[in-house]
Amino acid sequence: MLPLMERELVGPYMSKDDFLDVTAVAQSAPGIMAINVAILTGYRLKGVWGALLATCGAAVPSFVIILLIALFFRKFAENPIVRRVFMGVRPAVVALIMVPVFNLAQSARVNFKTVWVSILVALAVWLLGISPVYVVLLAVCGGILLGKKERAK
């Protein structure tokens, strides 16, 4: 969605530098990246109302499409053809979620000294059912303390 946003926004609404600035700030916040870009762009151009309208604009099309699909899917979920189709789709979905694990591990330059953090998180959430919320909280607090210690050295 970001390349599309860049094409629409850069030029009529902001400069390329502004857009890069907006995406950088958007990435620093939790939530949905494309929505964050919409919030910031709307806010820059027209304040809080601009932010609100831009957010609605970015969310409403997906919202409507998903609702239509959900209505359709609810009707046809028991259809034998749909069932066969989804028996093929489900394993592929699992594969799609595995790929970013490896891509991110590469771009974050995960090594033997750091990989245990990811492994522990995966096991804690998967096997013990610990909420990702606590994991993120712990990581933020731990990271801040660790950073302080590093700077003190």
């Binding site: 969605m1 620093s28 916040a29 939790p30 939530g31 949905i32 990246m33 929505i35 919030i39 910031l40 806010y43 932010a51 957010t55 969310a59 099309p61 997906s62 919202f63 499409i65 998903i66 609702l67 699909i69 959900a70 899917f73 066969r84 189709v85 989804f86 028996m87 093929g88 789709v89 489900r90 394993p91 592929a92 979905v93 699992v94 594969a95 799609l96 979620i97 694990v101 991110l104 974050a108 995960v110 750091t114 990989v115 953090v117 990811s118 522990l120 998180v121 995966a122 804690a124 959430v125 998967w126 059912g129 909420s131 990702p132 993120v136 990581a139 933020v140 990271g143 660790l146 950073g147």
Partner: protein, 172 residues
């Protein structure tokens, strides 16, 4: 009250998910499938698949669809969608610049967070590996094939999911 629960569940996800659409799957699994049991793993897997091939932000697609399935109506879908956007809306407008400054100031925390996100996405994939999603050896082959198609041969998710629908029809 399902609506109040939906609101706070998605508010929490909107506030704590720093990892994008894939990490959000792990939050949703924990809240919606594991804790609240609003959806079964199979229902949830189908929702993830549909959210991937539908245009628009995956996070919005996931929120709308889970909200709809959990409540059975448009109100649940609306509440979940609004709630997931609300925290970043407030944070970015009140403290956008400050949030960005934390990237330098708390660089270590951000780096730890990246490692955590990798673990969260891995847990999401592992939690979907059950007997309902993998019915036989053919589904394992499908998964490996899809993984290689995206990872090694750089195919897009939509291409791979569409191919898997055809394979589903042929194999089952």
């Amino acid at each position: 009250m399902i609506y109040i629960q939906l609101f706070f569940t998605f508010l929490k996800i909107g506030l704590f998910n720093f990892g994008g659409g894939y990490a959000m799957i792990s939050f949703l699994q924990n809240e919606v499938v594991y804790k609240q049991a609003w959806l079964s793993t199979v229902e949830f897997t189908d929702i993830v698949a549909i959210s991937q091939v539908t245009p628009g932000p995956v996070g919005i697609n996931l929120a709308t669809y889970t909200g709809y399935t959990a409540s059975g109506n448009i109100w649940g879908a609306s509440i979940a969608t609004i709630a997931v956007c609300l925290p970043s809306f407030i944070l970015l407008i009140l403290a956008g610049k400050y949030l960005f400054a934390t990237r330098e100031k708390y660089g270590t925390a951000w780096r730890v967070l990246r490692l955590v996100v990798i673990g969260l996405i891995a847990s999401a994939a592992l939690a979907l590996c059950n007997g309902e999603n993998f019915t036989d050896y053919k589904s394992i082959l499908l998964c490996v094939g899809a993984f290689l198609a995206v990872w090694k041969f750089k195919q897009g998710p939509i291409t791979v999911l569409l191919a898997s629908t055809v394979l589903g029809l042929l194999l089952y």
